[in-house]
Symmetry: C2
Subunit: 342 residues, 2 copies
């Protein structure tokens, strides 16, 4: 099976996507891999495996690689004698943040009928917008941390300390913990810089966090071990970067069978059927014994490979959602024409 790893994108997480791709190049070396880079100007390039290092991108030498265009059924390389299709059974969408996780590329893949691992458009919008995540969790019957939405307002009814988040950016960009009124104005300015709608949540000190990843395979929903991440107050951008190059399998969280079952059940409710086609990681909080969904990562850093013992094999067994076939028969236009006699 040929898997084309797509990375880069016009996103604040462009560089961590490159790190993710370099990490997966080694992790998935048993597969037949291609590397497709999307630069900040939305041009696709086919990168040779031996050029998959930081230098190729930071010094701009990727621009010498062949350009690709996306057309029906796949990616095409222009040659002297017409264009040729790049071998690709399945794209692995590894573009974190905008383009990859906001549903843009999902829409392109679906439109051009290209098989891909990654969240579909609707799943992307639900996980990319923190308010939508909360609304979706509530329909699935999963609790989240209480919250307030600010549409340009500059005060909150939630007690200090609280967290301010732009509704639509990942990787902690624009996020602040506000401890008192003196810190509020600056935190609001920073957050409104990135989004016109903010989410305020009470800051819960020492909250227990657990991560679970999983995906639908031909055999059914397969879940990872549960990890209790080593958390600082919250991960800043630099620390998150380091997180995207992880490959060593982590050890299981030391939790009761009851909590384990509750976390897996919550994951399943969130995942099915909206996220079929993607390998996602859900980050949960546990507060007073109750499982709360914190975040859905529909394209987790290096695909959360470190949570699975058989990662490569899992990728090849993933199940894709069925395409909806719409057959247009022009029954209505025919009936208009017969009525009009022309």
């Amino acid at each position: 099976m040929n898997v084309s790893i797509l990375f880069g994108g016009a996103s604040y997480e462009h560089e961590i996507s490159i790190i993710s791709a370099i990490t997966l190049k080694d992790k998935l070396s048993a597969l037949d891999l291609n590397f497709i880079f999307l630069d900040q100007d939305h041009t696709f390039y086919l990168i040779k495996a031996d050029k998959m290092d930081a230098k190729t991108f930071s010094d701009g030498s990727y621009k010498k690689a062949p350009k690709l265009s996306m057309q029906k059924g796949g990616f095409f390389k222009k040659g002297r004698f017409g264009s040729s299709q790049v071998a690709c059974d399945r794209v692995l969408n590894l573009i974190h943040g905008a383009d990859g996780e906001d549903g843009t590329l999902a829409a392109l893949f679906d439109f051009y009928e290209i098989d891909y691992i990654g969240p579909r458009k609707d799943a992307s919008v639900v996980s990319f917008d923190k308010f939508m995540t909360k609304a979706y969790a509530s329909v699935c019957g999963i609790d989240t941390v209480s919250y307030e939405v600010l549409n340009g307002e500059r005060k909150s009814s939630i007690d200090y300390p609280f967290i301010i988040k732009p509704t639509r950016l990942g990787s902690s960009i624009g996020v602040s913990i506000v401890k008192n009124a003196d810190e509020l104005d600056y935190a609001l300015d920073v957050a409104y810089e990135f989004d016109d709608r903010l989410l305020i949540e009470p800051f819960i000190k020492g909250v227990k966090e657990y991560n679970v990843a999983g995906c639908m395979t031909r055999e059914g929903l397969e879940l990872s071990i549960i990890e209790e991440p080593n958390k600082e107050e919250f991960l800043d951008f630099e620390k998150k970067y380091m997180d995207f190059s992880r490959t060593e399998q982590v050890s299981k969280a030391d939790i009761s069978d009851e909590l384990k079952a509750a976390l897996y059940a919550a994951f399943e409710k969130i995942y099915t059927p909206l996220f079929v086609g993607a390998l996602i990681r859900c980050d949960f909080f546990v507060v007073e014994g109750k499982v709360l969904l914190n975040e859905i990562n529909p394209i987790p850093g290096s695909m959360a490979n470190y949570l699975f013992s058989d990662f490569t094999e899992l990728i090849t067994r993933m199940r894709m959602p069925k395409r909806k076939e719409i057959k247009i028969e022009y029954a209505y236009l025919h009936s208009i024409r017969s009525a009009k006699g022309k």
Copy 2:
């Protein structure tokens, strides 16, 4: 200004989109127009103005028209001596239902930096999914009819009569009014045929309905007259079709200044800023003096031209949202390389 009317799409509303386009051909005849047809297989065709009739599509003769491809900056026609760009200052997205209103084409236009009139991706997902519409309305501080979501369940706690709707289809497809328990099973079967998630709402007999359309122009938010549509129990598919060929300006609803102000205020809260770039129609209910959002039509039939006195001129004055520029400097990759000394 050249406006390219894009219509068709792989959607259950494919045929009404053709009707909408034929209607706007006359209505917008003062503009320099192109007609781009998207067929059910996702191929684009450039249709000549004199071929814009039902026959061209129902007998398949559109297939003789030149094929177009979407690339950075616009649509391109392949010729004997390379490809040439089709003149187009702005696309008018007139694809109702899937492809047009679900955010797929919005994602393509944004990705390829093509200027377009129509809802952006996030706005599309919010208006296309009836549950998301309710969640969004609640953040905007606008009420909606009470509801329940069914995820595969086959019973509701809402009293009869109620309405069952698939969460993600327009044009009344799969919608039933259920008057008693005998009718429930069949209505559920029909609705689940189209979606795996359903919305149940109490059926409010004789509810007052009012429609308002509007868009952001260079001058600010411009609103249409308020129409009280002539409603049957609900519009079935055939009646909705007729609705898509309207061009005569309708008369204003006879309502109090207070209600008028309340409807306009609700429209503005829903519209700004999520729907900038689109001309939308909001359908409101008024129950016991309270304004409830029923539906957002982000690409209304024939663009609700019949609600405006200066429709053509309005289209040319519409304001488009700013593109976000993301500039990638590779600061992080540079810092890794200096740390590693290579």
